[in-house]
C-alpha cells in the first residue's frame, strides 16, 4: 500500500468573486509522478500554486479547504517552512541571473540565511547537480554565471536548485513548455529518475508527456476534478466522457 503524502480536501479557490477551483478532493501518493491535465484556464496552475502557498502573494486570491502534508494542514504551518518542504519548478527557466551556477544551486540556503560548512555546501551542490543530470556538463564551470547555459540546462539548474532543499514534494508547472524537443526529452527522463527521491506533481498540456512519465493522472475541467486514476488506465479507458473527449483532442 502506497502512502498518501498530500491530501487535498474540499478545496475551493477564488480570484475576487470568480471561483476557479470547485470542491477538489485529491490524495497524492508518495514517490509517484502525478500529472495534472486539462484545457487552458481550467485551474491547473491555481491548484499547484495552492500546494506551496504561492497564492499568499496574490492579493485577490482566496483559498478555502484543507491541504494536508503528512496529515498536517499546510495553511496552519509557516509559509516559509511549507515552501522549503514543497519545491517548485516554473514554466520558464528562472535561474538567478546575478548568481553563479554553484550559488544558484545553494540559493535556497543562502536566501534563508542557513549557514552550511564548506563541505556540506559542496556535497549538496554536487549531489543536486548529479540528480538533475547536470554535474558532468557544468562541474568545470561551477563559478560562472548561469546565463550561458541553454534553456534546457537552465531548467535542470532550477530543478537542482529545488532539489537542494531536499523537498518532500516537487511541483512542476509545465516545465518543458518553453523548451525544444531534445531538452524536453532530457527533462522527462530526469523526472522519471527522480521518483525515488521526491514525489512530483506535474502540470502538463501534453497528453503524450503525461502518458510517458506519470503514474497517476488528474483531469481537471472548468475547475472541477473530473477524473483521477492510474495514468495507463485513464489513457486507455477513461471513465468520464469529458476525459475521453479531451484525450481524443475534442477540446483543449
Amino acid at each position: 500500500m502506497e502512502s498518501k503524502i498530500l491530501k487535498i480536501k474540499d478545496f475551493n479557490a477564488y480570484y475576487d468573486d470568480a471561483q476557479v477551483l470547485k470542491d477538489i478532493n485529491l490524495s497524492i501518493l508518495k514517490n509517484n509522478v502525478t500529472a495534472i491535465m486539462g484545457p487552458s484556464g481550467c485551474g491547473k496552475t491555481t491548484l499547484i500554486r495552492a500546494i506551496n502557498r504561492m497564492h499568499d502573494f496574490t492579493p485577490n486570491a482566496r483559498m478555502e479547504g484543507e491541504i494536508l502534508l503528512n496529515n498536517e494542514d499546510l495553511y496552519q504551518m509557516e509559509p516559509i517552512i511549507v515552501r522549503r518542504k514543497i519545491g517548485m519548478v516554473f514554466q520558464r527557466p528562472n535561474p538567478f541571473p546575478t548568481m553563479s551556477i554553484f550559488d544558484n544551486v545553494i540559493a535556497g540556503y543562502k536566501l534563508n540565511g542557513i549557514k552550511l560548512s564548506k563541505e556540506d555546501r559542496n556535497n549538496i551542490v554536487e549531489d543536486s547537480l548529479r540528480k538533475s543530470a547536470m554535474w558532468d556538463e557544468v562541474k568545470d564551470n561551477l563559478h560562472k554565471k548561469g546565463s550561458f547555459l541553454s534553456g534546457g540546462q537552465q531548467q535542470r539548474l532550477c530543478i537542482a536548485r529545488a532539489l537542494a532543499m531536499k523537498p518532500e514534494i516537487l511541483l512542476l508547472d509545465e516545465p518543458t513548455s518553453a523548451l525544444d524537443p531534445k531538452a524536453t526529452a532530457h527533462i522527462e527522463e530526469l523526472i522519471s529518475e527522480l521518483k525515488d527521491y521526491v514525489t512530483m506533481i506535474l502540470v502538463t498540456h501534453n497528453i503524450a508527456q503525461a502518458a510517458r512519465i506519470s503514474n497517476y493522472t488528474v483531469f481537471l475541467y472548468l475547475g472541477e476534478l473530473v477524473e483521477y486514476d492510474k495514468t495507463n488506465k485513464m489513457m486507455t479507458t477513461p471513465k468520464d466522457k469529458r476525459t475521453e473527449e479531451y484525450l481524443t483532442g475534442k477540446f483543449g
Partner: protein, 299 residues
C-alpha cells in the same frame, strides 16, 4: 534628364540619416568647442601656474596668486557627503514604493513629492537653506560649543543631499520595479521572506541601475551652484572642519565672476570651470566602468 532624375533618390530614409548625422556632428562640435574655448581662455593661468593651480592653497585676487585646491576639495567633500547622506534615503524610498506600497494614495503622494523635489528651483533651496536651515544649524553649533557660523561645508552638503535625492531615488525605483517577477517567485518558492528577497535577489539584480542613479545624482551635486553658493560661506581658506565655511568650484565662479576685472583673475575662474568639467567627465567615465562591471553576465 531622365537618367539624372533617377539617380537623385530623395526619400525619408536618406533625409533621416542626414538629420541624425548632422545632429551628431553639431553635438560633438559643441562639446569640443566648449572644451577648447575653456582651455583657450584659461591659458594665462595655465601658463603662469601650471600644476600649481590645482595644488595651490592660496587664492588671492589682490596679489594675483591663484590656487584652486580648497575649491576642488570643497566640491569633492560636499558632493560625497551629500551622496552618503542621500543614498540610504533614496534606497529606502525606492524600496518602499516598489515593494511595500506598490500603488494607492500614499504611493502616489510619496512618488510625486520626490519628483517635485527635482523640480524646485535651486535658488529656492538656497533661500530656504539660508533663512530656515542655517539658523537651526547655528543653534546646534551653539549647543555643542562650536563657532556658530551656521553656513559652511556641512550645511551645503545637507542641502545638496536633499536636492539630489530625486535623481537616485527615481532611477532606483525604476530598476527595482523592473526586477522580473519570475526570479522573485523563484526566491519565494525556496522559502525566502520578503526582506530576504529584497536583499538577496532584488538589490543585486538592480545594482547596476542603482549605481547609475547614484552617479547621476553625484554629477548633479558636483555642478550645483546657486544653492551651494548661498549657504557655503564663500571662504577661500581650505576648511579644517566640516562646520567651517568653504567654497566649491561652482560657487567660487558664481560668486566672483562679476568682480573678475583683470585678465589673470578671469582666466583663473575659467580654469576652475575647466577643472570642474574634467572632474565631472572623469566621474562619468568611472561610473560607466562600474556599471559595466556590475552588469557583466546579466542577460
Amino acid at each position: 534628364m531622365m537618367l539624372k532624375k533617377k539617380n537623385i533618390k530623395i526619400n525619408g530614409d536618406t533625409i533621416f540619416k542626414y538629420a541624425i548625422g548632422s545632429s551628431v556632428v553639431v553635438l560633438i562640435m559643441l562639446i569640443v568647442g566648449i572644451f577648447v574655448s575653456l582651455i583657450v581662455y584659461s591659458y594665462p593661468t595655465i601658463a603662469k601656474f601650471g600644476f600649481g593651480f590645482i595644488s595651490g592653497h592660496t587664492w588671492d585676487p589682490v596679489t594675483e596668486e591663484f590656487g584652486a585646491y580648497p575649491f576642488l576639495i570643497g566640491t569633492l567633500i560636499t558632493s560625497f557627503i551629500a551622496l552618503i547622506l542621500s543614498f540610504p534615503v533614496s534606497i529606502m524610498i525606492s524600496i518602499l514604493l516598489s515593494e511595500y506600497l506598490k500603488s494607492g494614495v500614499i504611493h502616489n503622494y510619496v512618488k510625486s513629492s520626490v519628483e517635485l523635489l527635482a523640480g524646485i528651483p535651486s535658488i529656492i533651496y538656497g533661500f530656504w537653506g539660508l533663512f530656515i536651515f542655517v539658523p537651526v544649524v547655528r543653534e546646534v553649533q551653539m549647543y555643542f560649543g562650536i563657532t556658530p557660523y551656521g553656513i559652511g561645508i556641512l550645511t551645503a552638503s545637507l542641502i545638496l543631499s536633499v536636492m539630489i535625492i530625486p535623481y537616485s531615488a527615481t532611477i532606483a525605483y525604476e530598476v527595482i520595479s523592473l526586477t522580473p517577477s519570475e526570479i522573485k517567485e523563484a526566491a519565494y518558492s525556496l522559502g525566502a521572506t520578503h526582506f530576504e528577497v529584497i536583499r538577496k535577489v532584488i538589490l543585486p539584480y538592480s545594482s547596476s541601475g542603482i549605481v547609475a542613479g547614484v552617479l547621476l545624482s553625484l554629477g548633479r551635486a558636483l555642478g550645483e551652484t546657486m544653492a551651494v553658493t548661498m549657504v557655503i560661506g564663500n571662504s577661500h581658506i581650505l576648511p579644517d572642519t566640516l562646520f567651517a565655511p568653504g567654497n566649491t568650484m561652482a560657487s567660487v565662479i558664481a560668486n566672483e565672476f562679476t568682480e573678475a576685472t583683470s585678465d589673470v583673475y578671469l582666466s583663473a575662474l575659467i580654469e576652475i570651470g575647466l577643472l570642474l568639467m574634467i572632474v565631472t567627465a572623469f566621474i562619468n567615465v568611472v561610473g560607466k566602468m562600474i556599471i559595466k562591471k556590475f552588469s557583466v553576465g546579466m542577460s
